[in-house]
């Protein structure tokens, strides 16, 4: 695939920009141009908003048989994460042991390499999810330390 296909999605993959319906207030990620609830009334009115950084694992799996470009990552954890406001997103869970991932676990998005298209192809980047009790930047600390889970103490 050509690079432009991925370049088009940089705002979403790199900055996790979502869209919000000004009528009902529901937030969509990836962004939608039409609200699923308000439909035509929302056309041309959807607003770009940053996605909440606070998520929770809804369900997870350990992938053993992967697509091309992911073979060197197996086994890896894939999850559906629910963010504040009810937005749900698929992504890998990293920076922890696969056994430690559980439903309800708090996670936050982190910026990572997703896969490479062979030795000469494009390297794709985007978001993955890491345990929220393991902050990588100071802005995560206030809630990461206090509510991030059991015995985390906000360390790391």
């Amino acid at each position: 695939m050509t690079g432009v296909r991925f370049w088009r999605e940089f705002d979403t993959r790199y900055r996790m920009l979502a869209s919000k319906c000004p009528i009902c207030g529901f937030v969509y990620f990836p962004p939608r141009d039409v609200c699923r609830k308000c439909r035509r009334a929302s056309v041309g009115r959807m607003q770009r908003v940053p996605l909440s950084r606070r998520g929770r694992v809804l369900t997870h799996t350990v992938v053993h048989q992967a697509q091309t470009g992911f073979e060197d990552q197996v086994p890896y954890v894939l999850a559906i994460v629910e963010f504040e406001g009810g937005v749900t997103v698929v992504g890998q869970v990293v920076d922890c042991d696969e056994c430690d991932v559980s439903i309800g676990m708090e996670v936050k998005p982190v910026f990572r390499r997703i896969r490479e298209e062979g030795d000469a192809g494009v390297i794709h980047y985007g978001y993955k999810f890491a345990p929220a009790c393991f902050p990588v930047c100071a802005t995560d600390a206030p809630w990461g330390a206090g509510k991030g889970g059991e015995g985390d103490g906000g360390a790391g």
Binding site: T59, V62, G91
Partner: protein
């Protein structure tokens, strides 16, 4: 709308058919259906073909024309239409054929489904089946079709206490059924222990929780009920045809353990038929993964929400049970060529309703239901068939 009947059905062997091309498979299934109907090629007014991804599997698009050409339909200029909706391509083709006859546009329609998956590597074939999921927001991040069903399975287990053993029981049942189907890809029985010990694909699903990669074709001939009676056939009437859509991506569903398209397609088909699930004697439902059959049974209404896992272990869905499900072996054992699956389900029901499903006959079966699903549930079709005695 005219009443529409199936008057002939046929299918190829399902499996790894290395010596057969897509046109071979399409032609054989169509000819078997035509012979079964007692009709000639000249009688066919239109062809509808379910095919998911010939472009990826054999680098050939324009499949409608290809199959029409090799079937001897091109010289008469018979309209040929390829229909695609991932694993629901066959069910959708059947619906298009049904609408064509019901509307009065065509009198005799051939509906086929065919897929040739083994001309590419297993890795490429798996990637192609995953294209029925969302490329940009699921597959890009490392999801496969199996992993998305695994996410549903884990959520179902969390919410409802469904166990790996209950999922395994689906595979055990469908393999036992497939053992009695000479056209099935797998005719070997498996045990719960086999399923649980199989190589992991995406936890909690292992290889024996997943339908295989398959080559195969299936076809049925549709016409009006009046014409069927003229032909001296016992018509199997399409009483209801339902189709519904849902979000392409699993994560966009309001409930990860409900395939709403199944519910809606089923409600629509049964309403049209003037029937309820209680009237159904035999069903073919999507079991691309063991969890898929569990969820389908809940959405069809055979089990309450969350209790679908109990059906197979309790024998409710086995031959001789309350509602035998996937007597053909299902996608799991009969095989799962995506474009052909939806038609193969109807071929099985046709045989069941005519009382000719040797070795796996549901005695006295009068009404059958076929449930075909694409991807993680973004497209579903349900057809209700009844034999006229």
């Amino acid at each position: 709308m005219r009443d529409v009947a199936i008057v002939g059905a046929g299918m190829t062997q399902f499996g790894e058919l290395w010596e057969r091309s897509l046109q071979d498979i399409g032609l054989e299934s169509g000819m078997l259906a035509l012979m079964d109907a007692g009709l000639e090629t000249e009688d066919i007014d239109a062809l509808f073909l379910g095919n998911m991804s010939a472009g990826r599997f054999i680098s050939q698009e324009h499949i409608g024309a290809l199959i029409a050409d090799h079937s001897g339909l091109a010289d008469r200029g018979v309209p040929a239409t390829r229909v695609e909706a991932g694993g629901a391509s066959g069910g959708l083709a059947l619906r298009q054929g049904y609408l064509a006859v019901a509307s009065g546009m065509h009198d005799v329609v051939m509906v086929g489904g065919a897929e040739k998956m083994t001309d590419v590597s297993d890795q490429e074939a798996e990637e192609t089946t995953s294209m029925a999921a969302d490329q940009e927001w699921e597959v890009f991040f490392g999801a496969t079709l199996a992993s998305l069903y695994a996410l549903m399975a884990r959520r179902h287990m969390h919410l409802h206490g469904t166990t790996p053993e209950q999922l395994a029981a689906v595979a055990v049942k469908n393999h036992a059924h497939g053992a009695a189907n000479p056209k099935a890809q797998f005719r070997s029985k498996v045990t719960i222990a086999d399923v649980l010990a199989a190589t992991r694909v995406s936890e909690p699903l292992g290889v024996l929780d997943c339908a295989p990669l398959s080559d195969g074709g299936a076809a049925v001939v549709l016409t009006t009920v009046d014409r069927a009676l003229e032909l001296g056939k016992r018509p199997v009437v399409v009483r209801g045809s339902g189709q519904a859509s849902d979000t392409l991506a699993l994560h966009d569903r309001w409930d990860l353990t409900v395939q709403r398209a199944t519910r809606l397609a089923s409600e629509r088909a049964l309403k049209q038929a003037g029937m309820s699930l209680g009237d159904v004697d035999v069903a073919e439902v999507n079991d691309a993964f063991t969890i898929a059959e569990v969820i389908a049974l809940e959405d069809l209404g055979l089990a309450k929400a969350g209790e679908g896992g109990r059906c197979a272990p309790e024998g409710r869905t086995a031959l001789g049970g309350e509602l035998p499900v996937n007597t053909s072996g299902g996608l799991k054992a009969r095989g799962a060529p995506p474009g052909a699956t939806g038609i193969a389900q109807v071929v099985e029901l046709y045989d069941q309703l005519l009382g000719r499903a040797r070795g796996r006959q549901v005695e006295g079966a009068r009404v059958g239901l076929a449930h075909n699903l694409g991807g993680t549930g973004a497209t579903a079709t349900v057809h209700v068939l009844e034999v006229v005695r």
